[in-house]
Symmetry: none
Subunit: 281 residues, 2 copies
DNA sequence: GTCAAGATGGAATATTAATTCTAAATCAGA
DNA sequence: TCTGATTTAGAATTAATATTCCATCTTGAC
């Protein structure tokens, strides 16, 4: 009876429980320590998963999860899990507010809805990239980049952003890259640097800037290898040695660039990897 | 057999399910309509509670919850609830940890897997953007952009890409914007253009380029309003008039820019909208 | 008013997951 | 090395929850 009076209650909320777990490592057996790590690292899984699933993820027996909860004076896992669940539900309140705002079309509905639409559009573009950029195409293009004396990246206006990104990342990976940015109206002069041992990457969405088309055709005439990233299967870009048709959804006339920059990054990395392998051999 | 082939699969994710529920009211009986209301209003309870608890909260029999799930072609409530649970977990505050976990499994084993990783990382970043860029913050920053005599956009190296994008889109929307690109090592000279009636946007991820920090602090000293887009809540960017903390997952040390460029676009559009409204009034 | 179809609630049943218990394994100290 | 204490895994048991089934109620058409 006396002993029972002295045993304190389990933590009443997540903050207290998290603190108690974090300061209890010296008191925990090996298995319980693994569980503590997991509970603090991924509390939402702790909130939602069964003891069997958690046990498998952590690498312990399900009964160890129960023992963990009892170590912290809960009657069982269910009582401890309720703390994690309450926390998970509380942390989702901003999400509920966002849902309500969407339903109501409330005060700042324009901005909230616009964010939602751009996020959804970006996600859709990224998912589509998995289809439009299959491995063989990436490998072929990356090989063209890796084999080049210099990679020249050509883009104007909105796709210029993707071009700076590709150039920057190629350079970081020791793939010689030059941004054909047309500074001071000098795109034509910049093109004189392009030779037949080079690769030119044109990034252009319909409607294409006239300078981009001209420069691309000049590159082909020079004998350089060419890669095109475009949204429509249109000449002259379909004449490239390697080309990608990318879907970038737009919202209210503004086109995002999620798929394009992700592809640019993937190509740069793969080209850099190939170059590194070639250097070793 | 023919009939069974025509019955479509249940919604695969929360967005699709939410849409289907919201557009199905005419097909629902009285009780199922009550449940639909509740599911859309309080999805986290739907994720976490038992059919008995939900039935009591809603004022229907537990079996009505089952019938609701079957109406939407799920085998039962448990299968439907799993959709709500996945969404709840995805929206929880531990989401940033998931982004970081994506980083850990480096070593691009193959191009196919690398593409998958970047797509997943991009999607994760975009979803996180919904939390890290709430409406109030976007509105405040957009107002600072719209009110500026000139918006100067400051970024170096990898975030330079996002800066070109923001500047381009602001300009398209008739918001006067100047890219502080440091061409020819002239960032310090470019900063002399910045005055107290301007707004400076710094886009910088840790570790920040020294020039970016210096230029940002100079902008503040000049009296310009400042906006920072950064990955860590660190001075000096937390001293900005408005700042965003963005999670961008990286793979093999290469950081994508999906959330950052999407935020840039959203800000540009909102600023352009505000300017257009101000011009009308 | 009648009747058929659909909706409904709740008891019975089935399924799933938590919990208990115990033999075996492991650890730590003498 | 031995012994006692502690930890552990997993089978058996229990508890909790989902699901099914069907009698009853409700609704709408004729």
């Amino acid at each position: 009876m006396e002993n029972e009076k002295e045993i304190s209650a389990p933590a009443a909320d997540f903050a207290a429980l998290r603190e108690e777990i974090a300061t209890s490592y010296n008191d925990l057996s090996n298995r319980l320590e693994l569980i503590a790590d997991f509970a603090l690292r991924d509390p939402s899984s702790f909130a939602l998963r069964t003891t069997a699933e958690l046990g498998e993820d952590i690498g312990v027996a399900p009964s160890a999860i129960i023992r963990f909860a009892k170590h912290f004076r809960f009657s069982g896992f269910s009582e401890m899990q309720a703390i994690f669940r309450a926390e998970l539900q509380a942390s989702s309140s901003s999400y509920q507010d966002r849902i309500k705002n969407l339903e109501k079309h409330g005060a700042a509905c324009g901005t909230s809805e616009m964010t939602e639409r751009f996020v959804d559009a970006g996600i859709a573009s990224l998912r589509e990239l998995q289809h439009s950029a299959p491995v063989e195409k990436i490998e072929k293009a990356a090989q063209l980049l890796a084999d080049a004396r210099i990679v020249h990246v050509l883009a104007q206006k909105r796709t210029f952003t993707a071009a700076t990104y590709l150039t920057y990342n190629l350079s970081r990976l020791d793939v010689p890259a030059n941004l054909l940015d047309g500074a001071g109206g000098t795109l034509e002069q910049q093109m004189t640097l392009v030779g037949p041992e080079d690769t030119v990457v044109a990034i252009s969405f319909n409607p294409s800037a006239e300078e981009t088309i001209t420069a691309f055709e000049r590159a082909r005439a020079t004998g350089a290898r060419t890669i095109a990233i475009t949204d429509l299967a249109r000449a002259p870009f379909t004449n490239a040695d390697s080309w990608f048709q990318i879907s970038e959804a737009s919202v209210d006339g503004f086109r995002s660039l999620n798929a394009t920059i992700s592809l640019a990054l993937i190509l740069a990395i793969r080209a850099g990897t190939i170059c590194a392998e070639n250097t070793q051999n």
